[in-house]
């Protein structure tokens, strides 16, 4: 199947192909067949009526709001490294490579009768061979690793495999699908494949949801072997995830919530009103051009702990640097700016809000995801702040990674915000904040190898060179921290923030990092079980890790050790990690206090 196709592009994830070979048995798996089987189901929608109509004039007013103000700022627009223009050149590269792939591949990813499509199935994307990806990732990770974050530099947002549909074997084998559809069964979005071609499949999903609903119940989950189908209904919008990634149900549902949040961020929740007026309302055009936003969000589901912790993380910085940044953000915040954020990728450098209400970490995640993949002055909606109203986000990139976001409710504030930005930039340059940010990006952060010995009287900082104050136990390079400590995540409860250590050996490859990520995700879900949680402590050992988790009212600690680690030592190490975090907290967290922001 797809596994021997070669490609040089980085597709997201081994998620793209499950590598499973479905048997084509005597049973017809097509959606049509399924619908025939739900005869009495009272398929209360007739599928024939659901022909996808692109020309639907009901969407126009919203489009106007959504895109109206983006025109005027053309000269100002700075496009991020993952922005549109880059994407298009990347796409060119993909095309080239995928041609090779088509020539070289012995079998088409489509096993269906769509013979006409076989040769052209490589439109904008490529089918990636899992083995190739692995090799390349291994290489890249040895060059230098960002640490906390799976290396996203090689990962390019954008929709993949757009020509597939549910008759394609390759489509069926993708590890994690996301679908959004309307309550009438009209497709709105699909992570893989062509929404228009998936109309029948979409109608099947709708039939399942509404069948259970008609029985007076609400469907949450279907489990079949390694696959889970997770459903989330948000008024007239249905969201479905089909996954064989072994993530807990709670995590997948949380991801659907975020997916919905991302849509609200772009359109506000008022879009549901259009469905009230016209059940066959077509939402697809409203989301036009936002593929990169969603694909980047799906990517975040596999590496960004914020997506399940509901906390954000800060770029480690010397305390004085962060104070300088906060001061200048504070200066502009009285002039109609609701929130101003100085960010470096997904990490917060500083954050100031004019309002009492703190920004919800989920909103920050969605906003950062949106900003990094799209235009620079946009109306956006913060689902947790006010799901019905637009704010206006002014975004300016100072360099490839560092950007400023100013949020205002005034759509005419562009030039004012630009002035604010110039003011801020001057200060940031003068006070060396930007260079400190670059330095932190390169060498900052907590490394398990540097876990200090206690008791230690030395003032703790991540930004002093500490030559040889380490114990012998941690000296061997390449085996992580002392006593088999490989990695940790510390989440502060009252700050809504977390810090995670940089990935060190042996957690260096993409696969290892993702596996660890999934293990944390599972641990989090089991500690926070709806019925019985939150539990206090958990020790879990399997073939891959020893995991230790501590949940208190002040913090949560998730730590991963060598699977052979000794329990007693692991506990000691965890205590040291907590102490360490405390010692350097003013460098890794955005702390409240002072006049700036009440956290």
């Amino acid at each position: 199947m797809t596994s021997n196709a070669s490609s040089s592009s980085f597709s997201d994830e081994d998620e793209e192909s499950a590598g499973q070979k479905p048997k084509t048995g005597s049973i017809d798996y097509s959606p049509d067949a399924i619908e025939n089987q739900l005869p009495s189901i009272a398929l209360n929608t007739s599928i024939d009526e659901e022909k996808v109509s692109v020309a639907d004039d009901h969407h126009e007013p919203v489009t106007e709001i959504a895109r109206g103000s983006s025109r005027e700022i053309e000269p100002e627009r700075l496009i991020s490294s993952t922005g549109e223009s880059n994407l298009s050149t990347e796409t060119g590269v993909w095309r080239n490579s995928s041609k090779v792939e088509v020539d070289g591949a012995t079998s088409s990813p489509c096993s269906s009768g769509y013979a006409g499509e076989m040769g052209t199935s490589s439109g904008t994307a490529s089918t990636s061979g899992a083995d190739d990806i692995q090799e390349l990732r291994n290489n890249s990770s040895s060059v230098g690793n960002d640490g906390e974050v799976l290396h996203s530099a090689q990962w390019v947002p954008g929709k993949r495999h757009v020509d597939e549909d549910d008759t394609c074997m390759s489509w069926r084998e993708r590890k994690k699908h996301f679908f959004v559809l309307s309550h009438s069964g009209k497709p709105i979005f699909s992570r893989y494949g062509n929404e228009h071609k998936l109309a029948g499949f979409s109608a099947t999903l709708q039939a399942i949801i509404s069948f259970v609903k008609d029985g007076g119940d609400r469907i949450h989950l279907i489990r079949a072997g390694k696959h889970q189908v997770v459903f989330l209904v948000k008024g007239p919008i249905y969201l479905v995830c089909i996954s064989c990634t072994e993530e807990p149900y709670e995590s997948l549902r949380g991801q659907l919530e975020l997916l919905y949040g991302q849509m609200v961020l772009i359109l506000t929740e008022s879009v549901s009103r259009y469905f009230e007026k016209n059940p066959k309302f077509d939402m697809t055009p409203l989301l036009g051009g936002t593929d990169a936003v969603f694909s980047s969000l799906f990517h975040a589901f596999s590496w960004n702990p914020a997506s399940f912790l509901h906390a954000y993380t800060c770029l480690p910085l010397p305390c004085a640097t962060r104070q300088a940044a906060a001061a200048i953000l504070q200066d502009v915040s009285d002039s109609g700016v609701i929130y101003s954020m100085l960010m470096c990728k997904y990490k917060v450098v500083s954050l100031v809000g004019a309002q009492k209400a703190p920004l919800h970490p989920d909103d920050m995640l969605l906003l950062a995801n949106f900003v990094m993949t799209s235009e620079s002055f946009s109306p956006i909606c913060l689902p947790r702040y006010n799901a019905m109203a637009f704010l206006h986000a002014y975004v300016h990139y100072f360099d490839d990674d560092t950007y400023l976001v100013l949020l205002t409710s005034n759509s005419d504030a562009f030039f004012h915000l630009k002035d604010c930005r110039i003011q801020i930039e001057n200060v940031l340059v003068k006070s060396n904040v930007l260079s400190d940010i670059q330095r932190s990006l390169l060498e900052g952060g907590m490394r398990v190898e540097n876990l200090p010995l206690y008791p230690s009287t030395r003032y703790g900082s991540l930004f002093h060179n500490e030559p040889s104050d380490r114990s012998q136990e941690s000296l061997q390079p390449g085996i992580g921290g002392p006593d088999g400590l490989w990695h940790f995540i510390y989440r502060s409860m009252n700050l809504d923030q977390y810090v995670s250590s940089k990935f060190s050996s042996p957690i260096t490859t993409h696969q290892h990092q993702k596996r660890l990520y999934r293990a944390y995700q599972k641990l989090y879900a089991s500690m926070h079980d709806k019925e019985t949680g939150p539990h206090k402590t958990q020790f879990k050992r399997d073939g891959n890790y020893v995991l230790l988790c501590w949940v208190t009212t002040d913090f949560e600690l998730y730590a991963a050790f060598d699977p052979l680690a000794d329990k007693g030592s692991a506990i000691r190490i965890c205590n040291r990690v907590c102490q360490w975090v405390k010692d350097v907290e003013n460098e890794i967290f955005l702390l409240g206090g002072g006049s700036t922001f009440a956290w």
């Binding site: 479905p22 399924i34 009495s40 099947t204 007076g216 119940d217 072997g225 958990q538 399997d542 007693g568």
Partner: protein, 496 residues
């Protein structure tokens, strides 16, 4: 009294249970052909078809993505739907209502083990569903067998007019496993000699023997699967505990209900008449005769002399039809299975065998019973102070657990927590791709109520422990497990 229709309606909201065959009723208008069993039977057909339609639709749907393993469970807000493909294309689906108030909090695998048990017991007495369907393609034969059998089975779960299926309070139990009696060396030798004696009674017939003391297995010469099936039958219908409660009012009014339901089933099948239906699970039908042998008229009565026909069953692996012959002395139950084909003279041969057993083995039986009774510590024999535990040996289908009376002392929170941990382990196991032996797993959770909830799994063995009165440190909890493992599990769960 009786099982009034009002009572059935109440329970139907809590439980729906159906068996259907995907190969039948493929054409429009013939959908009813698919249904082989439905509970509650008085649910209108459109409602029955709707349950089956959804199940069938989702089986097909999930196969798009997961061709090897189709739909296993649907979780909805108010119900769980548990799927089990009992035989190729023959599906059992159980729909249970969830409710925190009525403690209807389920572990899916526990519910599935009920489905599995129903099916393996059905096969043991009636053979496979597919064979029955092939024998009589109309389906009436199959439907009437399934109906009476499952209704008799479900009666075990009936409390008042409500079905009480295994919920989180049964987290420290494992259905479908055998509980063994631990015997001393001396007693073991006696048992061995008894097994020899039983063997020689059966002569060259190549029969099998199973010995139970109370509700615990002492010895078996059957394969593990057949032992498990026979064990669950024996402990639910044959052991002294069951027989002594056999005359209680429970069964008599249930039987009345059954009769009612069974008559209704006639309307479903194309014809109940003509099929003589053996009801092996019927309550209160076994009793101990004067000679010590257990008798029942379930399998009919010989015309003329009123001697009950000897029960028969099928072995799973060899598919041999066997006579079942059970003898009881005090707490000891001895079951002999003799191939029907080797008993050329049928009932007469069985009588001779019984005679032989009384003559040649009864002295040994008395001796073994005495020895075992002396060594037995009573119903709390396997209680370990401070621990509430379940130990499962998956390879040998054996489990041992804290006595139920002790498990009930646990708080609801602890039981819910261990239930959840078991669910997580179930999931990990199912994802293990069959090589479960590789899955070495250790989970220790300190729950909200400060109880330690622990799961260990290694080389096909699983251990679940709840410690409510334990010190707060993880090391203390680990030590407690280590001690338990060394003492009661031959160190299987110890970390060298």
């Amino acid at each position: 009294m009786g099982l009034s229709s009002a009572a059935i309606t109440t329970s139907s909201e809590a439980l729906k249970f159906c068996i259907f065959d995907l190969r039948r009723g493929q054409h429009e208008g013939e959908e009813l052909e698919k249904i082989l069993f439905f509970f509650p039977a008085d649910l209108p057909f459109p409602a029955q078809l709707s349950v089956i339609g959804l199940s069938e639709g989702l089986i097909t749907f999930t196969r798009i993505f997961s061709p090897e393993a189709a739909c296993e469970v649907i979780e909805a807000e108010l119900h769980s739907h548990v799927f089990f493909e009992a035989e190729p294309d023959i599906w059992m689906v159980m729909v249970v209502a969830k409710s925190k108030e009525t403690e209807a909090i389920w572990r899916i695998e526990a519910l599935r083990s009920v489905l599995k048990e129903i099916h393996s017991l059905f096969i043991m007495f009636h053979g496979s569903i597919r064979v029955l369907l092939d024998k009589e393609p109309g389906g009436g034969l199959t439907r009437s067998h399934l109906f009476t059998f499952i209704m008799d089975y479900l009666n075990d779960f009936l409390m008042g007019n409500k079905f009480v299926l295994p919920n989180f309070r049964d987290s420290l139990k494992q259905r479908g496993t055998v509980q063994m009696l631990t015997v001393g060396r001396e007693a073991a030798i006696e048992v061995q000699s008894l097994v020899g004696a039983l063997d020689s009674c059966m002569g060259h017939t190549s029969g099998y023997s199973v010995i139970l003391f109370q509700d615990l297995l002492v010895s078996t010469t059957l394969t593990p699967d057949d032992t498990t099936n026979l064990f669950s039958y024996a402990t639910s219908r044959l052991t002294p505990r069951v027989l002594s409660s056999g005359g209680s009012s429970t069964w008599s009014y249930l039987r009345k209900g059954n009769a009612e339901l069974a008559s209704r089933s006639a309307n479903i099948g194309s014809g109940l008449d003509g099929f003589r239906i053996v009801r092996p699970l019927q309550h209160g039908k076994w009793s101990k005769g004067k000679d010590g042998f257990l008798v029942t008229d379930i399998w009919g009565v010989e015309v003329g002399n009123l001697v009950p026909t000897t029960p028969t069953l099928w072995l799973q692996q060899t598919e041999h039809k066997m006579y079942l012959c059970a003898y009881q002395h005090k707490s000891l139950t001895i079951i002999l299975l003799i191939p029907v084909t080797s008993m050329l003279n049928g009932e007469e041969g069985i009588s001779m065998l019984k005679q032989q057993l009384l003559e040649n083995a009864s002295a040994k039986i008395v001796k073994v019973e005495e020895k075992l009774a002396k060594g037995w510590g009573g119903e709390n024999a396997y209680h370990v102070k401070g621990y509430r535990y379940l130990l499962v040996d998956g390879d040998r289908n054996i489990s041992r657990a804290s006595p139920p009376g002790k498990v009930t002392t646990l708080t609801k929170e602890s039981l819910l927590a261990i239930n959840k941990v078991r669910e997580d382990v179930d999931l990990e196991k199912s994802r293990g791709n069959g090589n479960n032996d590789e899955k070495d797993l250790e989970i220790c959770i300190r729950a909200k109520n400060n109880a330690w909830v622990i799961a260990r799994s290694t080389r096909g063995k699983e251990l679940y422990i709840v410690l409510e009165k334990a010190n707060e440190t993880l090391l203390y909890a680990s030590e407690a497990i280590e001690k338990f493992s060394d003492r009661y599990c031959n160190g299987a769960f110890s970390l060298d």
